[in-house]
Amino acid sequence: MTLHIVSKSPFSSSALSDCANAVRDGDALLLIEDGVYALSREMPEKLAAAKLYCLAADAAARGLAVPGSIEAIDDARWVSLCTEHHPVVSWFK
């Protein structure tokens, strides 16, 4: 199962929608850096099948509340997510 990491805002980049097109059942998606701005609007429907995470510190730094459907994690949990998934794919364009 793939771990997708999105680091760019959906308001300035197609990273999240490109990622959503590639997500398959059982994949996980982690929002980091400006990628956490995805929390401020509806998530793409195609991501319904994915487990969603965001970096708690990056969301807090931007004043964004994390909804219950998304798990806020720290760096240590991010490392373990990387060990639990293969491959790990970063989306940043």
């Binding site: 990491i5 680091s7 850096e33 760096d75 240590a76 990387c82 293969h86 940043f92």
Partner: protein, 143 residues
């Protein structure tokens, strides 16, 4: 990740490599990569190599001087390199283009100064391919 196995706990250590594409001054990505490196080492995993590519080569400049109230990312990499004997590899072609040179490259290219920071080395893209093949996980930190 520790895994219980009967009376024992098996510590499943993995070999990570990181590819860093962002300059420290341009985006959050280099700072994120440094934090991730610290977190994976703290969890007992191995960091096989950090490969600095594209604008990421600026992480290896000894001449950057960020303001005192900002994190010094290059110094952060160097401290981690000293503590864990890390292999910090800066892509040589990307570095030449952006003015990050060691002394032998500066001499060869007849440039007036060298600025590759202590603890980093210049090498080709083959080292990224090698890291991809020889690591359990290759994590990319984009621009």
């Amino acid at each position: 990740m520790p895994r219980p196995a009967g009376h024992f706990t098996i510590w499943q250590s993995m070999k990570f490599s990181l590819a860093v594409y962002g300059a420290p001054h341009a985006s959050q990505s280099a700072a994120t990569a440094l934090r991730f490196a610290r977190a994976l080492l703290a969890a007992g995993h191995e960091l096989y190599r950090v490969f600095f590519y594209c604008d990421g080569v600026h992480n290896g400049s000894a001449l950057s001087a960020p303001p005192q109230d900002e994190a010094d990312i290059a110094e952060g990499w160097q401290a981690l390199q000293r503590a864990h004997k890390l292999d910090l590899v800066v892509c040589i072609a990307a570095a030449q283009r952006r003015g990050v040179l060691n002394s032998s490259e500066a001499n060869r290219l007849e440039k007036p100064a060298a600025n590759l920071a202590e603890g980093f080395e210049l090498a080709g893209l083959g080292q990224l391919a090698d890291a991809a093949v020889n690591s359990d996980r290759l994590i990319t930190f984009g621009q």
